[in-house]
Amino acid sequence: MQNGVNSAAMEWRDTGILLSVKRHGETSAILDVFTKDHGRHAGVLRGASSRKIAAALQPGSDLDVSWRARLEDHIGSYTIEPVKTRAGMAMANRLTLAGLNSVMAILAFALPERESQLRLYNDTVLLLDLLDHADVWPLAYLKWELALLEELGFGLDLSECAATGRNDELIYVSPKSGRAVSRHGAGEWADRMLPLPPVLAGKGHAPDDEILLALKTTGHFLENKLAPALGSKPLPSARAAFIDRYHRHCGTLPQSDAKPE
């Protein structure tokens, strides 16, 4: 017995965040759960159409899950115990609802199956617990995207200028290396650089326009580094829908007419 795993019977118990539910037959569903110790893991839940657990089967819910299968590579079956529902919190606000959709879609898109991502799991729980604080949520979301990039091997290094080694006037991020670049270091390449607003480096009081700029930078690495590494799948449109919603929230013009999917 290690990490709650009973190897002989292929059985373990864990806690996790529900990412998605796909109907399977009349009363069952396939749950995609981001578990604490077992990473993103799917399993069949029987009786998923029951109204008693309908609220718990919304994306973002915390579940206590027990997984069991005859062989390790089988999809296996889940039994669940609801721990905390969050959909109600998110649904009260358009911005956080769009944010929840983005988080769930990006996790389902980016996480490998059955690989523990403990740090990212903890960061995601912290983010989701802030769903009823719409005022701080965009900043928390930005920090979460940075953590996601870091955890998946595309972290940004914003400590010093990639060109000069200095750490003053760092106002750009190199779109290729993900390293900070100073005003002086950028030189004639400045128009090709991505913005590095203070909020991205964890400085300042994080106004909305800075967070939007910072999300443009993280979005570049999600789209041009992470997505190609996953087989050139397009980044989920839920992220663009969240950015669009955030622009509307701030009263600024979105850069594209993003339609949610």
């Binding site: 998605s20 009349e26 008693k52 609220a55 718990a56 919304q58 994306p59 973002g60 609801p82 905390k84 529902t85 969050r86 959909a87 109600g88 919190m89 998110a90 649904m91 009260a92 358009r94 609802l97 769009a98 929840l100 959709n101 983005s102 769930m104 879609a105 389902a108 989920p236 449109s237 839920a238 829908a241 509307r248 339609k259 949610p260 999917e261």
Partner: protein, 197 residues
């Protein structure tokens, strides 16, 4: 022997219906055969008729036997209210309540990031056309209290904001519901939407 095969085929088809499995399908087919004149023949005739005539209403997406459904062709229901639902089953549920006297619009699903269902896969453009062409004064978004349902409601609200009054169904304690058995999200929504007595 071929007769037995037809019956087996009928059982197989019946077993695909919602709520039925192979055993219950066998019982249903046996019952139909025993009540041939009373049930089987009229059922068979009606199924042929419905198969030939059933179609989606071109206006609202409801299922009827004509191009325009009974609700859309009833002038008494053109009272300026338009209730937007996800599915025909939801429309029928609203009709069962007998409370709503306006017209409906069936979206045919909800937006879903994970299933790649966007606005163009639903009947949202048609909804926007109807709001103008039918002189709608209020759109009631009667979508499910799920993440996808509410995401869809917010998207439609964005498209129609400023053009028509918008409302949504209340969320909270169901009739017969006990607080102890409700999830925290429902209790929170009910508390936020509390009303003065």
């Amino acid at each position: 022997m071929s007769g037995r095969n037809d019956i087996d085929a009928l059982i197989d088809l019946m077993a695909r219906l919602p709520g039925l499995g192979p055993r219950s399908a066998r019982r249903a087919v046996l019952h139909l055969i025993r009540k041939r004149a009373l049930l089987l023949t009229p059922l068979s005739d009606l199924m042929q008729t419905v198969a030939a005539t059933a179609r989606e209403c071109l206006n609202c997406g409801n299922v009827g036997t004509g191009d325009i459904c009974e609700i859309c062709s009833n002038d008494a229901r053109a009272n300026g209210l338009l209730c937007v639902v996800e599915d025909v089953a939801d429309l029928w549920a609203m009709e069962r309540s007998g409370t709503f006297k306006g017209r409906y619009h069936v979206l045919g699903g909800t937006l879903s990031a994970l299933d790649s269902i966007g606005p163009d896969e639903l009947r949202i453009p048609k909804l926007i056309d109807r709001v103008t062409s039918e002189e709608i004064t209020e759109v009631i978004l009667a979508l499910n209290a799920t993440v996808d349902g509410q995401t869809t409601a917010h998207y439609i609200a964005d498209q129609l904001e400023g053009r028509v009054a918008l409302s949504s169904l209340a969320q909270g304690v169901p009739i017969g519901g006990e607080l102890d058995y409700l999830d925290d999200g429902t209790i929170s929504a009910a508390l936020t939407a509390r009303k003065r007595l």
